[in-house]
Amino acid sequence: MAEVETPKITSFLYCDVCTLPVEYCEFSGTLKKCKAWLKSTHEDVYQKLYSDSDLASETNKNLNVAEEPIEGEESTKLTKEERRFEREEAKRMSSKVYIKTIERTKRKRVTTVQGLDAFNIETKKAAKMLANKFATGASVTKTADKKDEIVIQGDLGYDIFDYIAEKFKEIPEDNIVVVEDTKSKRK
């Protein structure tokens, strides 16, 4: 090796959907969304990658890898990743956000919001927004089962319900549960 070539600096196009280089989208489990994104943003790369079906089918001959099959089989053959994705979506649909009021010293109460992280919401940011909106303190703590919980000072109950439903449109209203605290009905 007399001549050492200076290696070139390269960069790869990364898919926005799965964060991998676009040629690896087929392994991401979100191939359909990846393809849709690629087609709308980089049509030329899309053509190169996905219209080249001859190359793909040739290398696939002796392998068990579940590459994207032809249109007819697509609907019946869900890959393992896609099934897992659907399971997670279903879990997300059934997971709820709990709003509870808890008593502290004397006549002070706090409101807790649990279950926001199931919807991929950054709890710290949400806590800050809630604190700003209601002009009180808010903090994030971890509950026993490692879930995040936002603790807001004051008894806010349904105000929080409205706020979350409005601000975080990803959460359908049915999934937000306000747990009634019997003690607070003392008044």
Binding site: P7, I9, S11, L20, P21, F27, T59
Partner: protein, 181 residues
């Protein structure tokens, strides 16, 4: 290595590093990967400020411009992350696995020797033991992972069985997904 890895909240501390240490890291990198010699200053400019992030289990990350480019376990060697490797794949020793193995590599599995010695794979003969190599995939231009060889290339070809390369960091693992503010 990054299976039970972190989200941003697991970072214990972030510090900028002194330029003398930064130079040390760069020269160690060039020592391990000689082909990087001429490009290292483009990849990690001299005036730039690397930040060191302490994580659990004595793992240190080194970041530049919000991207983690290097990592280190204990006092072990400083290993480039895939973000850095993607900028210059030719600077590192490469092996290639065949198509069937790609799926497993991307979920963190170690690389078995038959994947390297089969038709779709490639294994240069001069690769030694306990060396960091990047794993390319058959038919793809971007490296898929970086791993540590478990035996020399010649031994791998002879036995043709078992684990050839330990998968240290791969595309889509938690380190890859870590984006810093």
């Amino acid at each position: 290595m990054f299976k039970r890895f972190n989200s941003k909240e697991d970072f214990k501390g972030t510090t900028p590093i002194k330029s003398s240490i930064q130079r040390g890291i760069k020269s160690k990198l060039v020592e391990t990967f000689p082909k990087l010699e001429h490009v290292i200053d483009e990849l990690i400019p001299k005036k730039s400020q690397l930040t060191q992030i302490k994580c659990e289990e004595r793992i240190f990350l080194y970041a530049l411009n919000g991207e983690v480019i290097l990592f280190q376990h204990f006092d072990g060697p400083v290993v480039p992350s895939l973000r850095l490797i993607h900028k210059c794949p030719d600077g590192f020793p490469q092996v290639r696995v065949d198509r069937g193995a790609i799926k497993f590599v991307l979920s963190g599995a170690n690389i078995m020797i038959p994947g390297l010695t089969s038709a779709g794979g490639n294994l240069p003969e001069d690769i030694g033991k306990d060396k960091y190599v990047i794993i390319m995939a058959e038919g793809k231009g971007a490296p898929a992972a970086i791993g540590l060889t478990q035996m020399t290339a010649k031994e791998m070809i002879e036995t043709n069985k078992g684990i050839g390369i330990e998968n240290v960091h791969h595309l889509g693992d938690n380190l890859w997904k870590t984006i810093l503010d």
